[in-house]
Symmetry: C2
Subunit: 328 residues, 2 copies
């Protein structure tokens, strides 16, 4: 483990050699792990174990059940950690509580976020890659790590989820080339994609109905807003988790350029997710409200009652949609 | 034009040479044209025109507006047709009224449906290809036809729509390889996919709400049924076209193996679409009701009132889901 603060960018080959030369790995991934976090974490773990290394995957949050096919059969090993590698982890504030102790001791970060803060001693960063799993595939290829079916499923899942199944702007020709190769391992991609992108619980369908019914249109219908309050959640009698990940819904509406999802976190405090279709940089808009993110997907936290929060948000969005005098 | 009935299977290279040796093409595609019909039709037309040939695209139905980016700038040319080529057209019963006159005179069929009836003098059939556009890409490559941005958009759209954006079982490694190459032409894939797979009119959102609300679950919740009657359509005040293409909705529900969509065509006559997730061959089930199709997507027409129609359908589905004594 390395607490030395010099930041060093390394190449794919150097990263592969680093992995091959070291042992006893803790692989860290981010809180609230998504398909790429899980895929890159367990993909790397399997590849390291396949060449005789000891490796565990660590996350401050529990591994989500929806990705259980990526860690079926996984058992943590007992060893004293010597090498700390992070995957898909842009910033130490995404380590979460349990892993924060490792923040100063990461030897190698393998990432695809241009916003990576350089917290690790060595960083393999490809900001053009759609997923950490895309970067990892190159590492496995250079280092001749064996890839088996479950490792291929890990990498496929990371690329597929981070690109919205090859729909989003971040999809690269290289994503498709890699996936063509991964399919050769016999991954049940149709089943995986169906479970990741299509299937919804009945509760979830009810929630979506609810928010679509209550969706509000602003600014010549170029902005769609859905709001989820604690009262609304209580009314449905459903678990609050069912109300996660609704941000893509306002974007489904024809003509919408900016989609906003507002969710009450605690009384007087709302988590805001913003998405844009083509022209608006929502990262800039959220920055004005104290948040940040990507050009097409960003977020912030806004305080006030629901009406006040909506007004604050709309007053920032309006100029970006050409409504110069709105609320000014 | 050739009315000789000998059926001849030809190779990709032979098809390319046939196209290069002939001229004055009518390119036929199927009624109710989807992304692959439009993509292969206009893709082939552009490629032929690019090598100095005369070519028009013909369809018994109007070209759908949602695919207008594939035929922007297209103008039919005036010439006496000498060569008739069909694309994505499995059977002469899909020619539609206006094109039925050509059924006996197709010189070359380029297709990917294993069910192709061999109506053409020469047939280039790749039953493993996900889309006619996949077959066409190989033809363009072998024949060194120039591919420009709009042609690439045509081929991408065909592959993307026929594979549900690379989600379905029919997706092949070759699809991904081809798409990696097509992306090199600078196609606005994110915009295309958003328009094809995400955006819905407000009317459409209302329709989906309506059918999800009225969805019925049968056979231990393994079968979801949605029914659209003429009365229901009239009640919403929306255009009947808004009620097309709902067949994927029942498949979204967790645990559903067979999804059924029933739509009233005329009093006492219902169009039935059946989808399956993993184990049931719905083509066989629909055949029992006088219809047919693919293993995971098939259809039929059933007569009776709505209750009778549901019973007929469920009595066929039940045994396939292991409910041996149900209704027997």
């Amino acid at each position: 483990m390395n607490s030395d603060k010099k930041v060093e960018s390394i190449t794919v080959l150097e990263a592969a050699n680093f992995l091959l030369k070291n042992d006893n790995f803790y692989i860290l991934t981010h809180v609230n792990p998504d398909g790429d976090a899980m895929g890159s974490g367990f993909g790397l773990c399997r590849a390291l174990r396949a060449v005789g290394k000891k490796a565990n995957v660590l996350c401050s949050d529990p591994f989500p059940k929806r990705y259980s096919y990526l860690y079926n059969g996984y058992e943590p090993q007992k060893f004293v950690p010597q090498t700390i590698v992070s995957v898909d982890l842009a910033d130490t504030n995404l380590f979460g509580k349990a892993l924060s102790v490792y923040a100063d001791f990461v030897d190698l970060a393998i990432d695809h976020h241009i916003s990576n803060t350089g917290y690790a001693a060595k960083t393999l960063l490809n900001g053009k890659a759609a997923a950490a799993c895309e970067v990892l595939f190159e590492v496995f290829t250079e280092g001749k790590f064996p890839i088996d079916l479950q490792t291929a499923e890990c990498l496929y899942t990371g690329i597929s989820t981070d690109t919205g199944c090859f729909r989003f702007e971040n999809t690269t020709p290289r994503c498709h080339e890699i996936v063509a190769k991964l399919m050769g391992y016999g991954i049940p991609y149709a089943k995986i994609n169906r479970e990741l992108f299509e299937i919804k619980s009945r509760a979830r369908l009810t929630v979506e109905q609810h928010v679509i019914n209550s969706m509000e249109m602003y600014l010549d219908d170029k902005c769609a807003v859905i709001a989820v309050t604690s009262d609304m959640i209580a009314e449905t009698g459903l678990a609050p988790e069912e109300f996660e990940g609704l941000a893509s819904i306002p974007m489904q509406v024809e003509g919408v350029e900016v989609g906003v999802t507002i969710k009450e976190k605690e009384p007087g405090k709302f988590k805001v997710s913003m998405r844009s279709a083509e022209s608006v940089n929502v990262s800039e808009l959220c920055a004005k409200l104290g948040g940040g993110g990507h050009i097409r997907a960003a977020g912030c936290t806004v305080e006030g009652n629901l009406s006040q929060v909506k007004l604050k948000i709309l007053s920032v969005i309006a100029p970006a949609l050409g409504f110069d005098l709105w609320l000014s």
